[in-house]
């Protein structure tokens, strides 16, 4: 299994997908962090002033927005095998296809750990420098640290969900478009309709919010429950994706 995980890392590092997604994540997160800090304390924006716990936790949680790019990382990790037809040599080298999918899940989870840390570092850097200039930078302790830990775990779990979704759908463009439409549109609709509002906390987006929000938000799960829900999604997609990959003919 170790050599299969290494093979997946070699695949990941010999194309530039990871660099693009990492840079994109840092820009996205840095930009949002700067925007939130710029409007902190502005009455019309509704963002608490720099120096308050409410502002600090909000500003440090923006790294969670990189979840869309981390799910794309996982999706590309599996769908590229079908898109470029390398599933054939991959499954020839390892006829036990379940092991290939498990190696991908492990390899991408471990690869997402340092990548997510880089994104969080970009977030903390922008917030510390900008908020420091406007008054007081956040301390990296207590609730602030819990938010950062939640973001870190969530980004890793979204990468794993992406690997599972990719193995399930196999079509790269379809899987990416589907994931984006789901996260941006479907969850928003579910959340805004009174009849379905209650379900939102059980969905990946709701679980992500639970992991990164420490305010009193009664319609969300607690942080650790959110983490478990996200982990459950990751496991379900992984198991389904593995079963599909093992059974379907590679033609």
């Amino acid at each position: 299994m170790g050599r299969l995980v290494q093979a997946e890392w070699t695949k990941l590092l010999t194309t530039r997908v990871w660099i693009g997604l990492l840079l994109g994540s840092c820009l996205l997160v840095g930009g949002f962090a700067a925007l939130f800090t710029a409007f902190a304390g502005n009455d019309e924006s509704g963002i608490a002033p720099v120096g308050t716990p409410a502002y600090e936790q909000l500003a440090l949680a923006v790294a969670a927005n990189a979840n869309i790019l981390f799910i794309v990382l996982g999706i590309i990790g599996t769908t590229q095998e079908y898109r470029h037809r390398t599933a054939t040599p991959t499954f020839l080298a390892t006829p036990h296809r379940g092991r290939v999918v498990i190696a991908k899940l492990v390899a991408y989870a471990l690869a997402a750990v340092p990548m997510a840390l880089v994104v969080i570092a970009a977030n903390v850097l922008v917030v510390s420098v900008y908020a420091g200039a406007k008054g007081e930078g956040p301390s990296l302790s207590g609730d602030n640290l819990r938010v950062i830990g939640g973001v870190w775990a969530a980004l890793v779990l979204f990468t794993v969900i992406g690997v599972g979704v990719g193995a399930l759908l196999r079509n790269q463009v379809g899987a990416i478009v589907g994931a984006l439409v789901y996260l941006f549109v479907v969850e928003g609709v579910i959340r805004s309709i009174p009849a379905t509002q209650g379900f939102y906390k059980w969905l990946p987006g709701g679980a992500l919010e639970a992991m990164t929000a420490t305010f009193d938000m009664t319609d969300l799960l607690s942080a650790w429950q959110g983490g478990l829900v996200l982990l459950a999604y990751a496991l379900v997609f992984s198991v389904l994706g593995t079963l599909i990959a093992v059974r379907r003919d590679v033609v």
């Binding site: 093979a7 010999t14 194309t15 054939t88 390892t94 003919d249 590679v250």
Partner: protein, 336 residues
């Protein structure tokens, strides 16, 4: 015959390169009753044949005859409805180190942004082979300096060579190649021919090469397995196939064609007018000497008398004729 477990343990990683020139342990491939239906189309129908070590076996049939489906079933990529394939008694999916025993080139599959060398390093790593194997096989297929370029920029011939290099990574005893000559220029085809004969005849490997053109592999292969519409049509050595190529038919031309035909029919021969040849007759059942002798004694003037050297290609067309319409049907997607 579970022979694979009896084979010596795979060489240690640092021995792989030095073992390259050594004669490999012979591996026989047994295809037994393979059957696969896609929707309404029976792509492969109760197909059985064997592939022997130390020889190049041609796997021939028109496009859509089920060649690619058969190879993919043999290699565990497609699950057959019925039947099995064994490498010295062991199915592909049960081989402990498949890349060290079987190398396959099924299509030119690689990530276009990855260099040829990196592509090989991925599979060397997955198979637990030393990373140095990538450079060795690149040199072996004559792709050395190009190995560091993005594979997306490779010509068709270079892609075929990269596929072959991937198959050779594990120094396998069996090589399976699906239409390897596609995209190769004449020089490349000649190189491939010599390379495959070296791997099989000199090193004792089992080589199976598919093609839809007999002429393409005619000079390379020792044995042929011919399929049409998913069924076995003919299996045997090239010598046997050549012997069957229009043996016995004689073309004869005479201004007294009618009289000659009567004379030869009386001697028990089959006689038909030859298409497109005025005064021409195609005679079966008599040799050129017998026909000449009878014409002489019968006083019939001959203008031409020769054995009909119907080419192998013609035999091949005749053998697979029934499956041609099939190729145009829904099975077209199975184009080999």
């Amino acid at each position: 015959m579970a022979a694979a477990p009896d084979r010596p343990a795979p060489p240690e990683e640092d021995e792989i390169s030095s073992a390259r020139q050594a004669v490999v342990d012979p591996v026989r491939v047994d295809v037994q009753g393979l059957t696969k239906t896609f929707g309404q189309v029976r792509a492969v129908d109760d197909l059985s044949f064997t592939v022997e070590p130390g020889q190049v076996t041609g796997f021939l049939g028109p496009n859509g005859a089920g060649k690619t489906t058969t190879l993919r079933m043999a290699l565990g990529l497609i699950t057959p409805d019925r039947g099995s394939t064994a490498f010295n008694g062991v199915p592909y999916r049960a081989l402990p180190e498949p890349m060290r025993q079987v190398g396959a080139v099924l299509e030119t599959a690689f990530h276009p942004a990855r260099s040829g060398r990196d592509h090989l390093r991925v599979y060397a790593r997955a198979a637990g082979l030393p990373a140095g194997r990538a450079d060795e096989v690149l040199a072996q297929v004559g792709l050395g300096p190009a190995g560091r370029r993005r594979a997306g920029g490779y010509s068709l011939g270079m892609r075929q060579r990269l596929g072959l290099a991937t198959a050779l990574l594990g120094d396998p005893a069996v090589l399976v190649l699906d239409e390897p000559a596609n995209g190769l220029d004449p020089e490349g085809i000649q190189w491939l021919r010599g390379f495959l004969r070296h791997l099989s005849h000199d090193q004792g490997r089992t080589v199976l090469v598919s093609s839809h053109l007999l002429s393409e592999v005619e000079q390379t292969v020792d044995r042929v397995v011919i399929v049409g519409a998913g069924r076995l049509v003919r299996q045997g050595s090239m010598a046997e196939l050549r012997a069957g190529a229009g043996a016995g038919d004689v073309l004869v031309r005479s201004p007294q064609a009618a009289a000659l035909a009567e004379l030869l029919r009386a001697a028990g021969a089959g006689v038909t007018p030859t298409d497109g040849v005025p005064d021409g007759l195609t005679v079966s059942g008599l040799s050129t000497a017998e026909i000449g002798g009878r014409a002489f004694t019968g006083g019939v003037e001959l203008h031409e008398l020769r054995a009909h050297t119907s080419g192998l290609e013609e035999v091949y067309f005749r053998l697979t004729a029934g499956s041609e319409q099939y190729a145009a049907g829904p099975a077209g997607k199975d184009a080999a």
